[in-house]
């Protein structure tokens, strides 16, 4: 499958990354080379083979539903780029009207 610069641009938007046109061109070439290599997986016969989403040989892990140790608000906010009291502050992103 061939990757074009437009595909890369669309993927970048989904990944919340921005690139210059030059960067996109280089990245498209690199992704094409890597995905071409990955394409050899299409040679494997996979009839009846289920995906290995989890390697855990157990169904679930339960615990009592009770309050345990937790971070204080100050701990949780200690690395915030910006805060307002006990809240994370971000620039306004909703229209004013």
């Amino acid at each position: 499958m061939s990757v074009r610069t437009d595909d890369t641009r669309q993927i970048a938007a989904l990944a919340r990354l921005s690139f210059s046109d030059d960067e996109l061109r280089v990245l498209t070439g690199e992704m094409k080379a890597i995905l071409d290599y990955m394409a050899h997986l299409s040679r494997v016969t996979l009839d009846g083979v289920e995906p290995a989403f989890s390697l855990l040989r157990c169904d679930n892990v339960f615990r009592e539903d009770c309050v345990g140790e937790m971070l204080t608000p100050d701990d949780a906010l200690s690395n915030a780029p910006d805060r307002h009291g006990d809240l994370f502050r971000v620039p306004a992103f909703l229209p004013k009207d």
Binding site: M1, V3, D7, T8, I11, A12, L14, A15, R16, L17, S18, F19, L27, E30, M31, A33, I34, L35, Y37, M38, H40, L41, S42, V44, L46, V49, E50, P51, A52, F53, S54, L55, L56, N60, V61, R63, G68, L71, D75, A76, S78, N79, A80, P81, D82, F88, V90, P91, F93
Partner: protein, 494 residues
């Protein structure tokens, strides 16, 4: 013999007989960091000397009055900088986490402290553990203590170099596709990737959650085994940490491997592997045979698809895990833009390095509508076949021997312009991560150019005792006491 040249076993003996103190050891490690780390760049941050020595003094005082001490009491330990340490920062070698100080310790860190170990600093890595050379760090590359023109491997390159150069006795690394074993192999030390679920991932900054495991590094098998015993076990803060009993992974050398069945995959000593590496692995197999082990060849039919399957799944998981870096709750936030979407994209584009962006892009691609079935889902189905290969192999064999890497440490810059060539160097390490089984790398000789060669011993899930038994007996039989050249006048091999 200088303190920084001793192995864990020798150090533990010296501490118990009073030949030296925890204070002496911590001082020696910090002095060593001061004298060689400007050449190696293995550490991103070093612990405050006064605090570290005060911890050592407390341990010495307990020892003097005959009090009870943990199994790692007074041992200087380095911790990879993607494992959370409260008060000591955690950057993942990324600009996006510059200045981040986690509000809690990782479970593995809590446990090593409970065992009496003393953290001396946080080690350099490929950004977010994505890389095989430690060249993808916002803090600059780490150099191999055996040859300053060569990479230490990655992504736990700082941890491996620190242990090889005597800046720490033990180190924690993390292994998602070989990131403990490959640098251990390149730097001539022992590195363990435990079974998936053996060590809690709480506090390990997530890269690819179905592969990530914290592992141990040491100059001898005993140190790696004792360290793993100390940090293993279930954890209510990580549901994937298994409640399978933790065994004491250390035990005495017996000189006997009778009854142990060892398999060598034909593919691992053939085409694409340096001849001297294939010969060293054969030599290790011969040594094990003389200890009484049964050695035979086998085939892991689907291992040729492991790299493609691994990178598609790992990058898909990474693209999801790294979505959390949006500049809101912690880490870098871009300035000078208005819309939230723009802020997030600018924050991430300024904060992540090229390899991390490349992997997020590939992972997003593999998961995107229209590509999901052909890439991500197919890779997960191939993963099932790789798991099945191992299940069949472990019906016939107790352990599998391969090289850790197809070549010794490569030169700095050799693969930086060719990401795919870099990925292919992980050919022997990624299968264990895909299958969730345990594997260890240990030295098995030196190349003609004087570089360490790594031997990988792989066992089934939670069969670490067999892995350590084989490694311990082989280490004693080989009696290869590797010592990196004096780092101040670091060697440059051919």
């Amino acid at each position: 013999m200088k303190l920084h040249e001793l192995t864990f076993s020798e150090i533990r003996h010296g501490l118990s007989t009073g030949t030296f103190s925890a204070h002496d050891l911590v001082e020696s490690a910090l002095d060593r960091i001061e004298s060689v780390d400007s050449s190696l760049n293995a550490f991103i941050r070093v612990r405050d000397r006064e605090n570290a020595l005060a911890e050592a003094d407390e341990i010495d005082a307990v020892r003097v009055r005959g009090g009870k001490l943990g199994p790692l009491a007074g041992i200087p330990v380095a911790v990879k900088d993607n494992i959370s340490t409260r008060g000591l920062g955690t950057t993942c070698a990324s600009r996006i986490l510059a200045g981040y100080d986690p509000p809690y310790d990782a479970t593995a860190v809590e446990r090593l402290r409970n065992a009496g170990a003393i953290v001396v600093g946080k080690t350099n890595l490929d950004e977010f553990a994505m890389g095989s050379s430690n060249e993808n760090s916002a803090y600059g590359p780490v150099r191999n203590p055996w040859d300053s023109n060569r990479v230490p491997g990655g992504s736990s390159g700082g941890s491996a170099a620190a242990v090889a150069a005597g800046e720490a006795v033990l180190a924690l690394g993390t292994d998602t596709g070989g990131s403990v074993r490959q640098p251990a192999g390149f730097c001539g030390i022992v590195g363990v990737k435990p079974s998936y679920g053996r060590v809690s991932r709480y506090g390990l900054v997530a890269f690819a959650s179905s592969f990530d495991q914290i592992g141990t590094m040491s100059r001898d098998v005993e140190g790696a085994a004792e360290f793993l015993t100390a940090i293993s076990g279930s954890d209510h803060r990580d549901a994937t940490a298994s409640d399978v009993d933790v065994q004491q992974y250390t035990s005495p050398v017996t000189g006997d491997l009778r009854g142990v069945r060892i398999g060598i995959p034909q593919e691992s000593i053939g085409e694409g592997v340096d001849r001297e590496i294939a010969e060293a692995v054969q030599g290790a197999a011969d040594a094990m045979r003389s200890l009484g082990a049964d050695v035979d060849t086998l085939s892991l039919e689907h291992s040729k698809y492991a790299i493609a399957s691994y990178y598609l799944i790992a990058d898909a998981e990474a693209s999801s895990n790294l979505a959390r870096y949006d500049g809101v709750k912690y880490g870098h936030r871009a300035s000078g833009v208005g819309e939230l979407d723009e802020i997030i994209a600018k924050t991430r584009s300024e904060g992540f390095g090229p390899e991390v962006k490349r992997r997020i892009m590939l992972g997003t691609y593999a998961l995107a509508a229209g590509y999901y079935d052909d890439y991500y889902l197919r890779a997960q189905r191939v993963r099932s076949l790789i798991v099945d290969d191992f299940t069949r192999a472990f019906e016939r064999f107790d352990a599998i021997l391969t090289p850790t890497s197809p070549t010794p440490a490569f030169r700095l810059g050799e693969h930086v312009d060719d990401p795919l060539a870099m990925y292919l160097s992980d050919i022997f390490t990624v299968p264990a991560n895909l299958a969730g089984i345990a594997a260890l790398s240990m030295p098995c000789g030196l190349s003609g150019a004087g570089l360490p060669i790594g031997l990988q011993i792989t066992v089934d899930r939670f069969v670490e005792p067999t892995m350590f038994r084989i490694a311990r007996e082989y280490e004693a039989a080989l009696d290869l006491r590797l010592r990196a050249p004096d780092v101040n006048g670091m060697g440059q091999c051919g």
